[in-house]
């Protein structure tokens, strides 16, 4: 296993006691793209910060290719590349120099660093922008430079923290294909995201995490079949009266898995939407139906079933 995370916890005690990571165990195989899917505040970024030597764990271990990141941080940093959530490109250096000096920080000679930087500029289609300063780059381009920089020293594992946050859809697609291409180089990738499309299409395996714990682990397909991804109907209603009774009636139907009262209406989970929709609308009409959302089976519905809440909530 190239990345081993063992019973990892992180408790912040400064002002409020916050349990950010609450006993996470994960193992990543060489060459896989692994996704950590969870809402904001689930503990994804803290987990990555610990694995990348920027945060000290309260307890537990992280080993990268056998190197303990707490005991040997400098050695571990040789093995990892990091693309943080924010644009951390060096504003005083051009795009080329950002890559070049990164290589020098990793002990390459002048000629090695130069060759590697030029190679990366070509690979990431940045050659035209080599003399530009980071302040002049769009979000998507800056992200591309950050990925190029993160893999410049040929790390074994690449950590991507919310790589598509703040990117327009087109840049997001470009970023996805850049990550897909890393697979060919045999780099193991750990990415965090709260976009289920991203987790679904990029990851070989993923872990759904919330409140600092792993709720489910497996390939996207496996998660969808294991947790029987269902269609979710969210009904927003004007009155709450008699909803309990309605929920009970709906639950009795064979095609409904679950029906529960929510803060502003009713949530119905069903195996399929065939035939159910018109009846739901009819039944809810008496309660002042004002909105209806249907979520088709996906990782998102898996997440809702596991946690009872939305990824974006």
């Amino acid at each position: 296993m190239i990345v081993e995370i063992e019973n990892l916890t992180k408790i912040y005690t400064s002002k409020l006691r916050v349990v950010a990571v609450d006993g996470i165990d994960l193992e990543l195989k060489q060459g896989e793209i692994f996704g950590l899917l969870g809402p904001n505040g689930a503990g994804k970024t803290t987990t990555i910060s610990i694995a990348t030597t920027r945060t000290l764990p309260t307890s537990g271990k992280v080993r990268i290719a056998g190197v303990d990141v707490v005991e040997h941080p400098a050695q571990a940093r040789r093995l990892i590349g990091v693309v943080p959530q924010y644009n951390t490109l060096d504003r005083s250096l051009t795009v080329y120099e950002n890559l070049y000096f990164h290589c020098r920080y990793f002990a390459m000679s002048h000629s090695q660093a130069k060759a590697r930087s030029l190679e990366l500029l070509t690979q990431f289609m940045l050659t035209e922008r080599k003399g530009v300063y980071p302040g002049q780059l769009s979000g998507g381009l800056a992200q591309r430079v950050q990925i190029a920089r993160a893999i410049a020293h040929r790390p074994t594992v690449l950590f991507l923290d919310e790589p598509s946050a703040g990117l327009d859809p087109q840049s997001r697609m470009a970023m996805w294909s850049a990550v897909e291409n890393l697979r060919k180089e045999g780099i193991t990738v750990l990415l965090t995201t709260h976009y289920m499309e991203e987790a679904d299409s990029l990851s070989d395996r993923l872990a759904i995490i919330d409140h600092g714990r792993v709720l489910a682990l497996g390939s996207p397909e496996k998660l969808k079949t294991t947790f029987g991804a269902k269609t979710i109907f969210d009904l927003k209603l004007r009155t709450q009266d008699g909803l309990e009774a309605l929920a009970a009636t709906l639950k009795a139907r064979p095609d409904v898995t679950n029906a529960e009262v929510t803060a502003d209406g009713l949530r119905v989970i069903a195996a399929s939407s065939d035939g159910l929709l018109p009846e739901l609308v009819q039944a809810a009409a008496g309660h002042g139906l004002r909105d209806l959302t249907i979520t088709e089976p996906s990782l998102e519905t898996v997440f809702i079933q596991l946690t009872g809440r939305d990824l974006r909530e």
Binding site: S49, T52, T53, R54, T55, L56, P73, A74, Q75, R77, R78, V82, P84, Y86, N87, T88, L89, D90, R91, S92, L93, E97, N98, F101, H102, R104, Y105, F106, A107, M108, S109, R149
Partner: protein, 289 residues
């Protein structure tokens, strides 16, 4: 028996600690040089602004107090400060100020924004070096700039004043040691300020820390000259800039009364260690959570 066990133990330890001992220490050196080259590249690109930044204050100070005021009529009360002798007092003092402001401008200001706003330090703290080495590089590079800044004052003091002020160095090792220690001291001060102060409040630091320690730092007068105001003479002993000014006085203009060299050296070492530890603690606190 005991000693041989210890030896075996030591051997075992060193074998596991550095699987490739020679190889790994040369990698560390190369990484460190990489950081230094990066800073040199950025400085080279902004060399003219750098010279203006470090040169403007001593230039104007010398011009007004040693070239303009002495030529004004004797009735001007300010002109009493502007005697030929004042230039000699001022030369080491302005060198100390140049070193101090460089430490702030080269470490505290960039660090404060890099930690607070852009986080661009991230890529450098993620290089395969121990974090203290990254902080040391910052301080070393700032001390290089501080020394350049201080040396710039020497020709200025010769050409600008009405009566040229000559640096009169007899003890070169003392000068070198004072310059290196002083620039490390202010680099450490910069590290501490840059780590503890948010970018929003960095302007305040100038008013409440830098200006007081400059004006009360025996820059524009000698420490011995304070003997009539005894309480102040004692109070300024807590100000590290005093030892920088006095140390430069001892090495650049030894004819002017100054503190004994051993007192200067011990105080410079003491303040460098204290501020260095404080700065490093602040730096680690910002980088690691």
């Amino acid at each position: 028996m005991n000693s041989s066990e210890t030896e075996v133990g030591n051997l075992g330890l060193s074998a596991t600690e550095g699987a490739r001992p020679g190889h790994s220490s040369s990698l560390v050196l190369k990484s460190f040089l990489g950081l230094l080259f990066r800073d040199l590249r950025v400085l080279a690109r902004e060399f003219i602004p750098f010279l203006m930044r470090v040169g403007m204050q001593p230039l104007l100070f010398l011009f007004v107090f040693t070239a303009v005021l002495p030529r004004m009529s004797g009735g001007n009360p300010m002109a009493s400060a502007g005697t030929a002798n004042f230039g000699v007092v001022l030369l080491p003092g302005l060198m100390a100020v140049a070193i101090m402001f460089t430490g702030i401008a080269a470490v505290a200001l960039p660090l404060s924004t890099e930690f607070g706003i852009t986080r661009e330090i991230d890529d450098r703290v993620m290089c395969p070096l121990p974090l203290w080495a990254v902080a040391l590089e910052k301080v070393m590079f700032s001390s290089l700039q501080g020394i350049i800044g201080a040396l710039l004052v020497i020709p200025m003091a010769y050409y600008i004043p009405a009566v040229p002020v000559r640096a009169d160095v007899h003890n070169w090792p003392l000068l070198a040691l004072v310059m290196v220690l002083s620039s490390f001291l202010t680099g450490s001060l910069g590290l501490a300020i840059g780590s503890f102060v948010s970018p929003k409040q960095i302007g305040l630091v100038f008013s409440i820390i830098l200006i007081p320690i400059t004006f009360l730092g025996c820059v524009y007068y000698t420490w011995a000259g304070l003997d009539k105001i005894h309480w102040l003479q004692i109070a300024v002993l807590f100000n590290p800039i005093v030892y920088m000014s006095e140390g430069l006085r001892a090495s650049v203009t030894p004819s002017v009364p100054h503190m004994p060299w051993w007192a200067i050296m011990s105080a410079l070492v003491f303040f460098t260690v204290v501020l260095g530890r404080l700065g490093l603690r602040g730096f680690l606190g910002r980088v690691l959570s």
